[in-house]
Assembly symmetry: C2
Homo-oligomer: 765 residues x 2
């Protein structure tokens, strides 16, 4: 579901919230396999070599062709057939596998309609027609019309208003021009923030309906040749997608916090906080053009304009639109396939690895391109198992259903098995589509060094250097060629030669319930940056498209299998779980710097705005013929006290030094630790991330319990780190910022207490 | 000719090379009229009030309608008629006026043709048709087809290559993709740099022809509604313009350095360095679309893409174009109208004020919108004269012909009268079109305080605060809303409440021969930023367009008259010429900071690139399917020695302190200086700017003699300050940079010697 394959987005996902990437303890040259004694490391390397030898690109191709041959959305016959196919494969590979089902609310469209009714007439096509050369596009059986799941039903007619990306700043711009969306239909373009926020904010502002279109600037001919000539979005292609308020809680809207088993207690639909009330529809730029062309009102600000060949106006009117959404609000069954290899010495420490299986239509790139990689990993692990290998820890593979509508399969499974998982799971590794190019990895920063060690050991198929070296080159070149301060900072880090930074995780894929609900360390990985991602969530995300523009040789699929296989096996086999907490501590320090900067810049921006308002500078600077009012006055800023948090982070850094020293000794001794102590140590390490949660959760969304990583309330998929404090500052809730500085400090103190225990354990040995 | 009326460009022209704008001597609160004793200031204020009362918007409207009623290009009947009209007006207003003619080479198109001949056929329209509601657009008599004057003749056919803006970096991108323009036709878009550079660089790279089109992104529907609905460029509108190599020398290509009088010695056309050899034509985006659509080859980099509804490809081929330019290479007569009011006490100190009169077609906004302001000023000055006012210094008003093809009228006049002007002229004030909005001023920084004092005294028509206060508000708001570091720095300066910075002058209008050839202090002023400038150099620059989208009430025309009238009268009447050299000295200090930064960043970028090349990072970061080679290796950097220049600037700043102190004393004494001494002082002050010239001129262009301000060799109109050093650094000619650091230091030492003389004179009194 998350979108990581297009070029402009990749780099951002690589460098989110990065900074000092070299190891916090200065141990840059350490090439010893983290967590393994020298002899264990040698054995592991040989195991990995055998693993690699099993991976076949031809399997990826054949399975993808098969799995993407019919529509795969929740409730479709082929979705179930694929579950059975995956189950059969797991069994064939020697895994202990089963299907676990849930019953979820999943509305499907019975009628959708969009018409321009004034000043001219236009009936939107709302259909993705066949394209020459791609037989999948001829298929109509089981293809649903484009829709945004979990919007409301409705039959509404109203003036149209263009609201750019439909985010808070955009409504501020409309307000300055006296444009109110109340009782009107809002049209926004995709981009700038998560799709679900667009109708949510439209609804909050009183709109009666919301259209979301793909502008060719972000997603169409501006990017390159459109499908089928090139890979980019053609004029009738539509981006489907969920608009549930997943940043409050993901999963079945009717069963927050509990698994949607047959007998679960369910909310009434009308009481489900994550379902919108107004109708929402996604449309193509082909359908959006006549609507936008018919708009009057002021010319939109420059940053609102896309690549359609016309001036962009804001409305409202004279364009008037009639839209209809009528859905079947029935329950559907979803099918999670769960497969296991039991651990030999620590069966109660689980390494979970998942990928969803449902798509919006054929779902070749998203998600099946990496579903087939997961299957190929499972095959290779099965071969190792047959050859006698037994992982120390338990490995769980999961093929999730219902990710697209709102992480249904993973969330319901996690909620159902919460108690067991909280005890046992030490890592969740996610993939969600992959293509050609560069490794991207996000996750818990204690895993940053492990990811880098793996990235050194896997070769890039196109250049025959390590995937780390290739990514390093890209980051360095981007900093040299690009202008942004962030790109330059990353390039500097990359040039220093140490570990490359991994990004923090927001949401948009199945890692969320693990990481942010239960506090299980998580990773999300994939390759991308060279594929052409122009068919995201459309009917044109087909096997043929992927085979031409995704990963034609399926060699990056194989590389991804090598990366994930190593992550899984090293976590499963290590003497001591291969996590390095000083990387997390260093990252926290960086976040504190950002928070102080945010507080300072908020204060100075507030003062600057007040000064400009008081001196009437906005009125004087405005063109009087344009009638743009000054911006609304920012609230006064109270005192912000981040000191408790600063102190907690500093103390953690100090404790970390002692831990690092003790760990280094253990490492130098080849992890020669008495078994009982080693087990105790691994339990401590495996539970570190959980100590970053707070049972009360984040303000207004108790489901989200991780105090360091969360999807933003106003960014959707995009991460907010130290969210209790950061989002309060951004939303100008000063008391809440101070309160959560305290809450977060306490959580970090708890984390430190665990580290100190681990240090004591290591010192004892 | 210079383009200052569109919104995005205005701000840049305001803030070019600005910095510490408050007075260098800290004298921010000084509201005393610079150069005037208290009693003289009182008299002057009353004079200015009388002057203001004469200015009538209705005259501006009536004269504009008349003067823009027929095409006005060089050689057209109406251009001559307008000269006679202006002459008659000057005489009617009581001025001593005459017409001075020159005979210049001015090619006009006999045949122009652009055809796409493969892979499909398209005949370019090359014609700006009539538009409803604007009767001027029905006129065809004397309208020439769109052309770029001083391109070559030719009938060529070749593959088409898209080269973005056609600037050096663009050719580097083509080269990295293995695309050579040799023997091909280059199509570039307008923008990014001066138009003349595009065909010049195309020719240098071996192209056989060059097309320049207006992309709707910079100049069309992306900006807003197109004419006649709105003011922006419609799909068949063409930007004409000169492509002479004016950065080498402006004026008649056949008579560099001397006036093109009837008997002047002329070069052969083939020997004229400023005329291109290859054919060049400007085309509309309507005509460009089918050509660009037919291009194959790689998709162009993101920064190359405009707002046409298609992917931008680079070519070359399969698009093949046939283009023809056939011109009449005859001599034409140009008509400068020169009018004078003799000075009473210092007739040999001249204040020259000019505006050109020729347009590309009707030329309503450019240049006639401010030609009529100049006429109205002349009327008002005539009234004052009739009432008995006699300026102390001589006032010369000039209506230039032939500015558009290459500053012909001003340059030939200046070259003809160089000796007298070098002795007598103390200031040249230029306008070149005006519209609604904000004051913009560029020029010699010794005039910055005068401009600010005038800007405080003239009221903005829309807001009723001073034009300085309105501009200050705009700069502050732009810094608050805008992201650029430059905008923020300017906002900070503006918020401090002192003088607002004026920009440095490059070229593109008639100030160039005065400032940069003779070293006469110069100013260029106008209003803009709210008009819609989408008809620049097209047939649609009509009276109706200007009356709807330029300055509908002609109130900014009146405001401009008040600004220029004050500048002229204060310079003509002051006891001591109102210049403040410490502002220039402070600006020099700022330029030195920029040059050091440039040297440092050039060095670090060179090292960074070499490191990336040596580590093969470009190869590793590239998508192998795109076949983009690493960039060409930057030359090694030698030692750069700016010390002589640093010292000269520091010494000047020291001498300036003594001058300021002495000046302040004189000012506090009401400029009570013995007459002979005052005259000597004024002669010194009036000659200060000339000491900034070096007879040998700039490298490769001896016509340009000013060592501080010049149009860039690679920016055309855009200024390069301290050009001998800056351009050498940019072009990686290290020895030349060091050499010109010395040359410029010497010039600044000469300037300092003059200042020290002035200090001595002031101290004596």
């Amino acid at each position: 579901m998350i979108r990581i394959t297009t070029k402009p987005l990749l780099l951002a996902s690589l460098v989110v919230a990065l900074g000092a990437a070299c190891s916090a303890n200065g141990d840059q040259s350490s090439s010893a396999m983290l967590g393994f004694s020298p002899s264990a490391a040698t054995k592991q390397q040989s195991l990995e070599k055998t693993f690699d030898a099993q991976l076949q690109a031809s399997n990826l191709r054949d399975w993808l062709k098969n799995m993407a041959s019919e529509p795969n959305q929740v409730g479709s016959p082929h979705d179930k057939a694929n579950a059975e196919f995956v189950l059969a494969k797991f069994k064939e590979f020697g895994w202990d596998a089963h299907i676990e089902t849930f019953s979820v609310l999943y509305p499907t469209p019975k009628k959708v309609q969009v018409q321009l009714v004034a000043p001219t007439q236009y009936d939107a096509v709302l259909n993705e027609g066949p394209l020459p050369g791609d037989p999948s596009t001829d298929i109509t059986k089981d293809v649903l019309p484009p829709y945004n799941v979990y919007g409301g039903d409705g039959d509404v007619t109203g003036e149209l208003v263009y609201a750019n990306y439909g985010l808070p700043d955009d409504y501020a711009e409309l307000a300055r021009r006296g444009i109110d969306v109340k009782g009107k239909i809002v049209i926004t373009r995709y981009g700038g923030g998560w799709r679900g926020l667009k109708p949510e904010l439209a609804q909050e502002h009183g709109a009666i309906g919301c259209l979301i279109y793909s502008d060719p600037h972000e997603d169409g001919y501006f990017q390159g040749d459109v499908y089928p000539k090139g890979g980019w979005r053609p004029d009738q292609a539509v981006q489907r997608g969920s608009v549930a308020k997943m940043q409050v809680y993901p999963g079945d809207p009717l069963t927050p916090n509990v698994g949607s088993t047959a007998d679960a207690k369910r909310l009434d639909i009308k009481d489900a906080e994550t379902i919108l009330k107004i109708p929402v529809l996604p449309i193509s730029y082909g359908d959006a053009t006549p609507l936008l062309k018919a708009l009057g009102g002021p010319v939109a600000p420059a940053s609102w304009r896309g690549s359609l060949p016309m001036p962009y106006h804001m409305g409202g009117g004279p364009a008037k639109v009639h839209m209809v959404v009528e859905s079947d609000w029935g329950q559907k069954t979803i099918y999670d396939v769960i497969a296991k290899i039991e651990g030999s010495t620590a069966p109660d420490q689980w390494i979970v690895r998942g990928n969803h299986r449902d798509g919006w239509v054929f779902g070749a790139a998203d998600p099946l391109s990496s579903t087939v990689v997961m299957l190929e990993e499972a095959k290779a692990l099965g071969v190792l198992y047959k050859q006698g290998w037994r992982p120390q820890r338990t490995i769980v593979y999961a093929s999730w259903d219902g990710e697209e509508p709102g992480l249904l399969g993973s969330t319901e499974w996690v909620e159902t098995h919460a108690e067991e998982l909280a005890k046992k799971a030490v890592l969740y590794i996610n993939t969600d589509g992959t293509s050609r190019g560069f490794l991207h990895a996000g996750g818990s920063h204690s895993l940053q060094h492990l990811v880098n060690q793996v990235a050194v050991d896997v070769q890039d198929p196109e250049t025959n250097v390590s995937v780390q070296q290739r990514l390093r080159a890209r980051l360095m070149v981007a900093g040299y060629e690009g202008g942004s301060a962030e790109a330059k900072a990353t390039a500097k880090v990359a040039a220093e030669g140490g570990d490359l930074p991994i990004g923090a995780l927001g949401s948009g894929s199945d890692f969320t319930p693990f990481l942010q609900h239960l506090g299980i360390a998580a990773l999300n990985v994939g390759f991308g940056g060279e594929g052409e991602g122009g068919v995201y969530h459309s009917k044109y995300d087909t096997f043929d498209h992927y085979a031409r523009f995704g990963d034609p040789k399926f060699e990056y699929g194989v590389a991804l299998g090598k990366v994930v296989g190593r992550l899984v096996m090293r976590m499963a086999d290590a003497n001591v779980l291969p996590m390095r907490f000083s990387d997390f501590s260093a990252k926290l320090d960086e976040y504190m710097g950002e928070l102080h900067k945010l507080a300072d810049s908020t204060r100075s921006a507030t003062e600057a705005q007040h000064k400009l308002l008081d001196s009437k500078a906005f009125e004087l600077a405005a063109d009087p013929t344009e009638k743009i009012a000054p911006p609304a006055r920012l609230s006064d800023m109270s005192a912000i006290d981040l000191k408790p948090l600063d102190e907690a982070v500093q103390k953690l850094a100090q404790s970390m030094q002692a831990y690092d020293a003790a760990y280094k000794k253990a490492q130098d001794n080849g992890y020669d630790i008495p078994k009982a102590q080693e087990q105790e140590l691994n339990e401590l390490i495996g539970n570190m991330e959980k100590s970053l949660t707070s049972e009360a959760g984040l303000p207004g969304r108790t489901w989200f319990k991780h105090m360091i990583y969360a999807p933003g309330m106003l960014t959707g998929y995009g991460v907010k780190t130290v969210p209790g404090v950061r989002e309060a500052l951004e939303a100008r809730r000063w008391d809440e910022a101070n309160q959560y500085a305290g809450v977060t400090a306490k959580v970090i103190d708890g984390y430190r207490a665990q580290i100190e225990k681990a240090t004591a354990l290591l010192t004892k040995s």
